[in-house]
Symmetry: C2
Subunit: 90 residues, 2 copies
């Protein structure tokens, strides 16, 4: 799946990311992947739900994957953080 | 899927819910469903990841569903909240 079809969810308002996903579909993409880590996971689910209920009804959630990523900090510390990938397509 | 196989994620510490899921599997259940709404969705993903990576390696995530629930408040107000269901089995 090409990187340009991916929307990374951060700490901006939810509707910013909804707009990003809707724009990808309106530009002719058949599928968009929403990715998030940690606390942004809840927002990623919100984005997917708002896109398919309020904006593009023919888009569905095809697959959802969860995983654990290891983040390495300074001094060799490491932290595990959960991640999610939501695959949407029309 | 029977209700007794379901763990609802709230605002308690993550490890409380990890213990609840591990206990279900140790009691002989073959599958457990983790459910959460709103901000607890991120914690639900953490719980699933910790269970399968740190506690019971033969357990896998079989399916993940997301949805929108309509909460009705006093005076007829309503709010949409995202939800997640994570199906785990061995």
């Amino acid at each position: 799946m090409a990187e340009e079809n991916t929307v990374y969810i951060g700490n901006k308002p939810t509707m910013n990311y909804v707009l990003a996903v809707v724009t990808q579909f309106n530009n002719g993409n058949d599928h968009v992947t929403i990715k998030a880590r940690g606390r942004a996971i809840s927002r990623a689910v919100d984005v997917a739900e708002i896109v398919r209920h309020r904006f593009i009804q023919e888009v569905s959630v095809r697959d959802i994957k969860i995983d654990t990523e290891v983040l390495k900090g300074e001094g060799g510390t490491q932290a595990n953080v959960s991640s999610i990938e939501i695959y949407m397509s029309r």
